[in-house]
């Protein structure tokens, strides 16, 4: 038993799962098997045929010996051998077929499950991602789903085959001798009890193992993504100690626990088999001596016991796989069942072409993990085509306002309206396709510069891409890159300077030709000269669109139609530049410090 306690977010989901979740998990997973029911039934038929063919083998041998060899009949021998050959070829063909079908079904299911998970991830609201690290997502979609493969590909049919075998042997045993059968079955209740106990222990262990994998992956992923900070602060040794001493060790210890229980299970089953054999030998032997049964019956019976326990032993191994699969399955379903906070209502309409009137109607908001209000009774009216500047201290809530506008989150109370339509009544896609955002943290995808700009509008032409890049002053540096627009930027754009990344994501937003444009500190890492160029280009670009601009360099916002000053989640002032200055309030203070030294 391990003494390591993983962080709360790792253990939390385990506890939730512990309440007899079984039938639901099985049901949930069945859903994914259903489309392949036909295939599976067919494979089942194949398995019956293959098994029959395999069983007929000894019969052919017997025939060959009795009819061919013993009868001194070379012709018969040849014919029997030939017949055997044909049967074996049929068996080969069907077996080939069966393996292909089941393995394919397994892969199909994995494909379906992963796609379903990814699609669900696309719907989950952003607050999900605040809590959920990359590593954990990857674990669920890759590793936990992986536990299904082995089970579907090999175990499902093996279980069926074993059950068939057990039932067959059972009937044969009872037919042979009822008393001895009952004697053998005397161990069954013990076995059932052992199995139940095992199931519980194993499931708990595998849950811990899955959680450990998840923990390990998230630590690993974070360390990889943050490797520059790790190195800048020379944290390698410390991190290594944590990883090997806690995270990885927890994985090791939970694995060993799981392995221990699993290793215990099969021998116990074996032992019960040996017990049954011993009982039969003793009792049956006595019976033979008492001449109530023949020695032949006893021998046959002992052989049957072996046949009876062989599939049970195999089942016990599969049962172990099943436990691990179920532990994985629980986690898959947990993700698939994670409620979507921001979702399209069933009757959500398409957002009509936006003219651009924006209204925040008494909007209050807090993020799900902290009850402190981040936005407090925001009241804001924006006319179509207006440029709104949001100013205020960092952490005042500016970004949060624009996030609500794009409906990344829904307000806790109040409503956000565009053209008089409450955002909660329209589909998110139709809304966001008409918006363009430059986020505070520029993010570029693995791909070429062009592809990254095209992300804004997939069907844009080359000259439009170039025009967008020129508008933000990015064209020159792009042309200086190794392959111009075809230069591939690495994941996250790491081979570009931060300002360059910002310019590309700016171009991306412009290319989208949005009805509402959101610029969240879009040029914070860009030099003043480039920024100035963008400014002059922007005036033309903003014409006719409603736009929200957040910036700290106040020179960029003086021309706004409306300046909104946010402080501690409230709007404390709004109006035009000159009016706000005249009021000598907070904006005036900000403005003054911005230009003083």
């Amino acid at each position: 038993m391990t003494k390591i306690t993983p962080p709360e977010f790792i253990t939390r989901s385990e506890e939730q799962l512990d309440k007899g979740y079984d039938p639901k998990v099985a049901q949930g997973l069945m859903q994914f098997l259903k489309p392949y029911a036909g295939h599976m039934i067919f494979a089942l038929v194949l398995i019956v045929i293959v098994t029959a063919a395999a069983v007929s083998g000894p019969y052919f041998v017997k025939l060959a010996i009795d009819e061919g060899i013993a009868a001194n009949d070379p012709l018969a021998l040849r014919n029997i051998a030939l017949a055997y050959l044909i049967v074996s070829i049929i068996q080969l063909g069907f077996n080939y077929w069966r393996v292909r079908i089941m393995a394919r079904v397994g892969q199909h299911v994995l494909y379906d499950v992963r796609t379903a998970m990814f699609a669900h991830l696309q719907k989950l609201s952003l607050s999900f991602y605040n809590r959920y690290s990359v590593g954990r997502v990857i674990t669920r979609v890759i590793n936990d789903v992986g536990t299904l493969r082995e089970f579907i590909t090999w175990a499902v049919l093996a279980i069926v085959r074993n059950l068939l075998g057990i039932i067959g042997t059972l009937i044969a045993m009872i037919a042979l001798n009822f008393q001895l059968s009952m004697l053998t079955f005397a161990v069954l209740p013990v076995m059932v009890w052992v199995t139940i106990a095992f199931r519980k222990a194993a499931r708990q262990n595998y849950r811990k193992v899955r959680a450990a994998v998840s923990w390990g992956n998230s630590v690993l992923a974070e360390n990889i993504n943050g490797v520059r900070v790790v190195q800048a602060f020379s944290r390698q040794q410390h991190n290594y100690n944590t990883f090997s001493g806690y995270v990885n060790r927890y994985y090791l210890e939970t694995s060993l626990d799981a392995v221990w229980v699993a290793s215990l299970f099969t021998p116990v089953i074996d032992l019960l088999g040996a017990l049954a054999t011993a009982l039969v030998v003793y009792v049956g032997g006595t019976a033979v001596l008492g001449e109530s049964i023949t020695a032949g019956v006893l021998i046959a019976f002992v052989l049957y016991i072996d046949r009876f326990f062989e599939p049970i032993r195999d089942l016990s191994r599969r049962f172990d796989t099943l436990q691990s699969t179920m532990a994985g399955g629980e986690r898959i379903l947990e993700l698939l069942n994670t409620p979507v906070e921001v979702r399209d209502e069933a009757n959500a309409a398409e957002m009509q072409p936006i003219t651009g009137a924006v209204r925040f109607d008494n909007v209050s908001f807090h993020y799900s993990d902290d009850p402190v209000l981040v936005l407090d009774s925001i009241q804001l009216d924006v006319k179509p085509g207006e440029t709104v500047a949001l100013v205020g201290e960092t952490g005042a809530g500016k970004t949060t306002i624009v996030k609500l506008l794009a409906r990344f989150h829904d307000p806790t109370s109040g409503g956000v309206h565009i053209d008089g339509v409450d955002l909660r009544t329209v589909t998110q896609g139709s809304l966001r396709r008409q918006m363009g955002m430059v986020l505070q943290d520029p993010f570029l995808f693995n791909g070429t510069v062009k592809e990254n700009i095209l992300f804004g509008r997939l069907d844009a032409k080359d000259d439009e891409v170039i025009a967008a890049a020129k508008a933000v002053g990015a064209h020159d540096f792009i042309m200086n890159l190794k392959n111009g627009y075809e230069t591939s930027v690495e994941e996250g754009g790491l081979t570009l300077s931060v300002g360059q990344r910002q310019l590309i994501s700016f171009a991306r937003a412009l290319l989208a030709n949005p009805r509402i444009l959101i610029l969240d500190e879009a040029t914070s890492s860009v030099d003043t000269q480039t920024e100035h160029i963008i400014q002059s280009a922007l005036a033309a670009l903003l014409k006719g669109r409603t736009s929200f601009v957040i910036a700290h360099r106040l020179s960029t916002i003086t021309n706004a139609d409306k300046i909104v000053v946010i402080d501690g989640g409230r709007i404390i002032e709004q109006g035009k530049h000159a009016d706000l200055l005249a009021a000598q309030g907070r904006y005036y203070e900000l403005y003054k410090t911005g230009f003083q030294d």
């Binding site: 068996q91 077996n95 796609t115 990359v134 902290d370 960092t394 190794k482 030099d527």
Partner: protein
């Protein structure tokens, strides 16, 4: 195969356990052979002799043997799984540690999703193989040679005939072995690609949502996912070929025995019993034959995993301390760039060309220049995140390549341009560079970075857990935590790479004031776009296209009338517009430039 042998080295620490597991397996196999004999003996002797005591003893013996074999089974399974778990523990540790030390250049071009999947999935493939391979292989060899020996000694001719199908079987297995490894490698690559897609999608989730590109992303994911599916089909095709065929070839052996053996019997050269016995032996071959396929399959999977693991482990961390590297004692903080050029890996152009600067102890250096001019590249050379292509970077007169890396980086505090935090408490994030720092020190650092106030504003204060990369903080808050993190290490050289870009002007002023104090007695490099920050520096470096185009103090540069003057004029213009805005309100005359731009000595 080569990779498999290499990964066998990870088994070495567990040689004893592997040996024990092997012994137990052999004993177990032996026992399994004995039990039928006992049953036969019971029937033959006990029943015929009519001896009850003998029956009891046999029954007890049977149970005893069952017990022993259960224990052996337990021991063998646990031992092999124990070894496997430890091997994978070791491997994951190695991977984790190795990746931490790989240089920036490596990570610039590596795909993190692939890296993650190598650490997890591929290590697991090796693990699966590691524990059982040696005992299984030994068992296979023993069984095979045992059965072969018996068969060959019983009847050479029949043995040769019945073993004929073994030739294609061995050939097939060999061929399967060479092929399956490659196929699994393709599967692994595809799975790695899927985790890449995931990684990218999760990190870029805001952009995906902002542009309503969920469908597009799902399509891209599906195509990566489909690729995994396809690659698996190749594997499955091989499985479907080899697995049934193995069984079939054994059956063919039986048929051959029956046919040719039968003819021999008919010709009077052989007894029927011998044919039956031969057949029984051949059937015993079925198990090891299947085991071999399984082993080869697992070996192929492990080899593919090992290849991917070793690709990472073989990547040399080329930025590391030399063996004879000197450990730096307390630095004075002189920094010199001597004819430094930098060309990033895979790039055609130099990002820095012939940089020549000498910075004295405790000086403040400011870098300014257009986006992409090389400012970040320049400061990144001081903690040796990258190695220069030409020239040398010297700290206290020593080439950074000649000093012990940790002792260098420990004395440099850097606030990277992208302020990444970890999903941990704010306290732990600030203490990242000094996990043992006292609470007061942490708070002091937070105060200096103007972070204390907003942290206290959270319900859980310093215990607030921030999301991965710091996503639950606003941009400016993140930057301030990153500044506090750097300040806490009390560095001799402080580097601020555009660290206030997301901070509002008022907060910036406060941080400036705090930093003014903190910069005293340290060498500081500041990258900034706002002249208000830059102009106080002892030395201003104006960069353009990888060159230092101008350098000097504010006044000198203004006189020179170059790029700096242009930037200055632009900002001055903006400022003057601002002042004319304010002026009619305040009623003051536009203040004279000199009082606004007070020299640092006066301001400090």
């Amino acid at each position: 195969m080569k990779n498999l042998i290499r990964s066998a080295a990870f088994l070495r620490p567990y040689a004893w356990q592997a040996f024990a597991s092997l012994l137990m397996l052999l004993a177990l196999t032996g026992l399994n052979l004995v039990v039928p004999r006992i049953i036969q003996a019971v029937v033959d002797d006990g029943l015929l002799r009519g001896d009850t005591a003998y029956l009891v003893r046999s029954a007890l013996l049977l149970f005893g043997l069952g017990l022993v074999s259960a224990l052996l089974g337990l021991g063998n399974r646990y031992a092999s799984e124990w070894i496997a778990a430890h091997v994978s523990y070791d491997l994951r540790n190695r991977m984790y540690d190795h990746i931490q030390y790989l240089p920036f250049t490596y990570h610039d071009h590596a795909q993190s999703g692939q890296l993650i999947s190598r650490c997890i999935e591929d290590v697991r493939a090796i693990e699966k193989f590691a524990g059982s391979s040696i005992p299984e292989l030994a068992r296979f060899a023993l069984l095979t040679f045992g059965i072969l020996g018996v068969m060959l000694s019983a009847n050479l001719e029949l043995a040769v005939i019945s073993l004929l199908p073994m030739i294609p079987l061995i050939l097939m297995t060999g061929w399967f072995g060479t092929k399956i490894g490659k196929l699994f490698f393709a599967v692994d690559q595809a799975v790695g690609e899927v985790s890449n897609r995931l990684q990218e999608n999760v990190t870029g989730v805001q952009v995906v949502r902002a542009f309503a590109r969920e469908e597009y992303e799902t399509k891209r994911f599906e195509s990566a996912n489909m690729d995994v599916f396809r690659k698996w089909l190749h594997v499955i095709d091989e499985w479907a070929k080899i697995m049934p065929t193995t069984n079939w070839l054994i059956t063919i052996g039986t048929i051959l025995i029956l046919y040719f053996g039968g003819q021999m019997v008919i010709a009077g050269e052989l007894t029927v019993g011998a044919v039956a016995a031969f057949n029984a032996y051949l059937l015993m071959m079925a198990e090891p034959a299947q085991a071999l396929t399984g082993l080869v399959n697992a070996g192929g999977e492990a080899a593919a995993g090992a290849q991917r693991v070793f690709e990472v482990l073989d990547a040399e961390p080329d930025i590391k301390s030399k063996k004879e590297a000197r450990v730096l004692s307390a630095l004075k903080g002189e920094v010199e760039f001597r004819h430094v050029s930098l060309k990033y890996q895979n790039e055609n152009n130099h990002s820095l060309t012939d940089i020549n600067v000498k910075v004295g102890q405790n000086k403040i250096v400011a870098l300014i220049g257009p986006t992409g001019s090389g400012k970040t590249s320049l400061v990144n050379l001081i903690p040796r995140f990258y190695d220069v292509s030409d020239g040398a970077v010297l700290v206290d007169g020593r080439d950074v390549r000649d000093v012990e890396l940790t002792s260098l980086r420990r004395q440099i505090g850097i606030v990277l341009q992208t302020s990444l935090l970890f999903s941990d408490t704010i306290r732990a994030n600030i203490a990242y560079g000094r996990p043992d720092a006292a609470e007061e020190e942490i708070i002091a650092a937070a105060k200096a970075a103007q972070a204390h106030e907003f942290i206290e504003g959270f319900t859980k204060g310093y215990d607030t857990i921030v999301g991965e990369r710091g996503v639950t903080l606003s941009g400016g808050q993140r930057q301030r935590v990153a500044i506090a993190r750097a300040l806490l290490t009390d560095p001799r050289i402080l580097i601020l790479d555009d660290s206030l870009s997301s901070v509002d002007t008022q907060t910036e002023k406060l941080i400036q004031a705090a930093l003014d104090k903190l910069m005293e007695g340290r060498t500081t490099f500041v990258i900034a776009h706002r002249l208000s920050t830059v102009r106080r520096a002892d030395l201003i470096l104006v960069m353009d296209k990888g060159h230092i185009v101008e350098s000097g103090t504010h006044d000198e540069l203004l006189k020179a009338g170059g790029l700096y003057k242009e930037i200055h004029d632009l900002q001055l213009m903006q400022r003057e517009e601002a002042l004319t805005d304010i002026q009619p309100i305040t009623g003051n005359k536009p203040t004279h430039e000199n009082t606004l731009y007070a020299p640092r000595s006066n301001a400090g």
